[in-house]
């Protein structure tokens, strides 16, 4: 529970390396700003690095080495409002949760200015206590998340051992898949991604895509291949056109490069990643 403020928003990493929060004007932003002033460019990044208003409040509290139980509400409110105000003046989109918290803080502050009423029933919660409870509650799970991230885990610290199978008496059956199921899955994901609105996908000829894969696998490795060898004359005009479209698309997607050493010399093709 003794996070130093600078550590709050750093991505925890096993190796302890510092991962910059973002690049601001070309320079990596590694530490959270130590004072209230934030360069305007960094403001959006700054806010994005928080997991919500509670996280931001915790940061403000920890930065001043305040004890959560003794937070100076008016000071924290002032600072919080300053950030919110700065963000709003920059016209960044601000999540509603931040505004709700601003209202809550304002309410607590105003209540504390009023003379305390002695009421018989103590039913009504002190809003400050409620805020503290939420902050504490959030902080413990924030800490738990950091702990979980540090725990050894598969594919990073643990690798399960497996050995190749010998000749087996019977082969294992694979699950059956119906084309309908496959299309339905595609339908679901495209609907989610809202890709139907884009015409780009529909226009694409699948035979071109298939040819692109084929050409890439021919080009695997470092080797150059002559441009002509990518075409099969026997396929006729349509086949050549498909191959040509595939080459153009691959060039457009910067997956291959076409090299011609001299004018009218042979044209060679190779994958860009081989360079």
């Amino acid at each position: 529970m003794t996070d130093k403020p600078e550590e709050l928003a750093k991505a925890p990493s096993k190796s302890g390396e510092q991962v910059p929060l973002a690049l601001v004007s070309g320079k990596p932003l590694v530490d959270m700003p130590k004072d209230l002033y934030i360069p305007p460019d960094a403001l959006a990044v700054f806010l994005e690095s928080f997991e919500g208003p509670l996280d931001l409040l915790l940061y403000l509290i920890r930065r001043q080495n305040m004890n959560i139980l003794e937070i100076d509400v008016s000071e924290i409110t002032r600072q919080y409002m300053e950030y919110i105000g700065a963000v709003e003046s920059m016209r960044f989109e601000l999540a509603a949760e931040y505004l709700v918290m601003a209202a809550t803080l304002a309410e607590i502050k105003s209540r504390m200015l009023l003379p305390r009423q002695d009421t018989e029933d103590d039913e009504e919660l002190d809003p400050r206590a409620e805020l503290i409870r939420r902050l504490q509650q959030y902080e413990r799970f924030k800490k738990a998340a950091e702990d979980i991230d540090q725990m050894p885990r598969m594919e990073r610290d643990i690798f399960s051992g497996s050995a190749a199978l010998p000749k087996m008496p019977s082969s294992q059956p694979h699950p059956e898949v119906d084309m309908k199921e496959l299309l339905l899955a595609l339908h679901g994901v495209l609907k989610r991604a809202d890709l139907f609105t884009s015409h780009h996908v529909e226009k694409e000829r699948l035979s071109t895509r298939e040819r692109m894969s084929h050409i890439l696998s021919v080009l695997q490795g470092d080797r150059f291949v002559t441009f002509e060898s990518l075409f099969t004359i026997e396929e006729g005009r349509l086949g050549v056109v498909v191959s040509f479209l595939a080459v153009l698309e691959l060039v457009k997607e910067q997956l291959i490069e076409i090299v011609q050493a001299e004018v009218l010399g042979p044209i060679h093709v190779r994958t860009r990643s081989a360079s």
Partner: protein
């Protein structure tokens, strides 16, 4: 029990664990034998103890996780082994890890309850990722309007993090009781008593409301 016979069971267990490449329970290992050949549970467990010893000083070890036993690369060799894989291990966002930790420590829990504690909405993608990785699952629906799904962690989650049970998770830090906080605030506001901060004393006080969740296995077992 004949020693040779035991050695054979040990070798078969090792072969099966390496063929599976994932944890197998003692029961699953016993199932590999035909009925008249099947070693009693105790014998199988004994063979596993021998296997564990036989892995000393080697590149791998026998490890007990939630869904059984697994042969895995010794953690000390992870730096070398990691170079086998071109792709860097996946990183998980804070939002995902916080959501996961809430499900782990507070299960069964609804999305709304997670949002209450985190103070922000939880994106559907996070829940979907956790469900797809089979780290969490829906264990029922809370009987409130909208019947929201309640989430809990799975054995696969424990396996992934090398754990046998939820009680092996790092303990949650203590949270102090609301009434107590209220009283202290009151004291401060009235200025009657100067507040001496002695963190240690406060932390040691248990929280009656939170006690059950501090040890998550209680909610599960």
């Amino acid at each position: 029990m004949n020693e040779e016979h035991l050695a054979r069971i040990q070798a078969i267990a090792e072969a099966a664990l390496l063929a599976a490449g994932k944890p197998l329970s003692v029961e699953q290992l016993r199932e590999l034998f035909t009925e008249d050949d099947r070693p009693p549970r105790q014998v199988m467990e004994h063979a596993l103890v021998l296997l564990e010893k036989a892995c000393e000083g080697r590149g791998f070890e026998l490890r007990k996780v939630a869904s059984g036993y697994r042969l895995q690369v010794r953690e000390e060799f992870a730096p070398w082994v990691a170079r086998l894989f071109e792709e860097k291990p996946q990183r998980y966002s804070r939002a995902l890890l916080e959501t996961l930790s809430l499900i782990a420590y507070r299960q069964p829990i609804t999305r709304g309850e997670i949002e209450d504690i985190r103070g922000v909405t939880v994106s559907s993608n996070i829940i979907r990722t956790l469900l797809e990785r089979e780290w969490v699952r829906v264990v029922g629906h809370r009987d409130v309007p909208g019947r929201p799904a309640m989430y809990a962690t799975t054995k696969q989650f424990l396996d992934y993090f090398n754990l046998t049970g939820l009680d092996e998770l790092p303990p949650l830090s203590e949270v102090r009781d609301l009434d107590e906080i209220g009283r202290e605030i009151e004291k401060n506001m009235q200025g009657e008593i100067q507040f001496e901060s002695s963190q240690g004393e406060r932390v040691s006080q248990g929280d009656p409301q939170d006690a059950p969740t501090a040890s998550p296995e209680q909610t599960l077992h």
